[in-house]
């Protein structure tokens, strides 16, 4: 199987990640932060090591501000819900994933907050300014589209949010892990939501939210935290304030190994490899008659969307699967982005790369698509 669906989840996982998960299950699988026996304390120290590794990687001074969550969607919901107040206005971009669109749509439905969508086209800051209201308190930005790989000028947006006093939430799903982390942008953000199982090479079931401060932030899930147990309220300190219930230890252990893998492999090397594969794929596919490519050709990202003339994306994906190539077709949970690029409601076929992909695999993909086109022309 040639796996080109790394934006959904990276596969395969590095050997170091697989070994760490096995060690976790076999050697230190106690419940972290609940007991004082050796297995529980070893588990808790691994969880702390993961916080510290992530914090160091992202240039975050205090590991306590890394809150573990089941996934990036949960982290985004937490970031939005912990901060929003009745009567607030939220700004979101026109390429957000449903992990942002649905929470703000629901807040609007509940009568809690209004939201507006700013365009990423042209002068983004001017577009944001046009949509601002006096009640605007939260600005959400998706630096890299999961459909096209198109980017937003996140540095400019972050600086503007800071200057205006907005609570800035960044969706790191297709951003963190794909290059050298921009510590200056991280320093400007109030919250960053990240999945563990995508470009950080952990397993599914773990993600995190970087939350700069717990001040003015209320947890939206409450329950056992392992400390301050006599109180009916959650603890006030990060990270336990936002970590109700048992943590997904195997996923966190895998994330620790995954971040170490990314750093040892080299952040710049990853960025170069993904950009090289994307340029190569774009070049190869652009020469096949009947293939339409989407997104900025120079975005240098790790995803590429395309469609075959006269064929629904799901059919293309099925044909590729039968040829041993895994891709993702449809709307990619991002209807706003598909409306922006004119591919709503059928969507596109998306290929997405990881560090284990090769040019030969792109050549094979291109040969299957060329063959498909020949069959279609002969119909």
């Amino acid at each position: 199987m040639i796996y080109l669906d790394n934006a959904a989840t990276t596969y395969p996982k590095p050997i170091s990640v697989r070994n760490e998960v096995a060690d976790c299950i076999l050697k230190y699988g106690g419940n972290p932060g609940r007991s004082a026996h050796k297995l529980s304390l070893l588990a808790a120290e691994t969880v702390w090591d993961a916080r510290a590794e992530i914090a160091d990687y992202l240039g975050i001074p205090d590991p306590s501000s890394i809150i573990f969550t089941p996934n990036a969607t949960f982290a985004l919901n937490l970031a939005i819900r912990c901060r929003v107040k009745r009567g607030d206005h939220i700004l979101i971009g026109d390429r957000e994933h449903n992990a942002v669109l649905r929470p703000v749509f629901r807040l609007k439905g509940e009568g809690i907050a209004e939201f507006s969508i700013y365009s990423g086209k042209g002068d983004v800051i001017e577009n944001i300014r046009e949509k601002e209201r006096k009640e605007t308190s939260i600005l959400i930005c998706n630096p890299v589209s999961n459909v096209t790989g198109d980017t937003l000028p996140v540095r400019r947006i972050a600086s503007y949010a800071k200057a205006r006093g907005f609570f800035l939430i960044l969706d790191g799903a297709q951003w963190i892990g794909h290059g050298v982390p921009d510590h200056d942008v991280v320093a400007l953000a109030d919250a960053i939501a990240v999945p563990g199982h995508k470009a950080l090479y952990g397993i599914m079931g773990g993600g995190f939210l970087y939350l700069k401060t717990a001040q003015d932030c209320a947890p939206f899930v409450v329950g056992g935290s392992g400390s301050d147990s006599a109180s009916p309220s959650m603890p006030t300190d990060l990270p336990e304030r936002f970590e109700a219930g048992t943590l997904p230890l195997p996923a966190i252990a895998s994330l620790l190994a995954g971040v170490r893998f990314v750093r040892e492999y080299g952040c710049e090397r990853i960025a170069k490899k993904e950009a090289l594969l994307n340029d190569y794929a774009r070049n190869r596919l652009s020469k096949i008659p009947g293939i339409v490519l989407y997104g900025d050709p120079d975005n240098g990202s790790s995803v590429l969307s395309f469609r075959e003339d006269g064929i629904k994306p799901e059919e293309t994906a099925l044909r590729l699967d039968r040829a041993g190539i895994a891709v993702r077709a449809g709307l990619h949970c991002a209807p706003l982005e598909h409306k922006r690029i004119g591919t709503f409601p059928d969507g596109t076929v998306r290929i997405s790369y990881g560090v284990f992909n090769t040019k030969d695999e792109i050549d094979y993909l291109a040969s299957i698509l060329e063959n498909n086109r020949g069959i279609i022309r002969g119909r």
Partner: protein, 72 residues
């Protein structure tokens, strides 16, 4: 040998404190206690002779000591 205990609250704070002390060459073990006022709390057990340095390190890091105890 005289031992000391401090409770700092959560397991995260206790491990953070342990790691900071290790950087200063001070050895400490994680402990857990339960009491009427706060319920479950984590902290550190250490050689009492290190008390002064330990309090200085924790104070500099902004780690609040909820309870302390020293005994033979």
């Amino acid at each position: 040998m005289e031992k000391g205990n401090v409770l700092v609250g959560s397991i995260s704070y206790a491990i953070k404190a342990k790691r900071l002390l290790a950087k200063e060459g001070i050895s400490a073990e994680l402990i857990k206690e339960t009491d009427h006022s706060s319920g479950c709390s984590y902290g550190l057990s250490y050689e009492a002779r290190d008390s002064y340095r330990i309090f200085a390190v924790l104070s500099a890091a902004g780690i609040r000591i909820k309870q302390r105890e020293e005994r033979n």
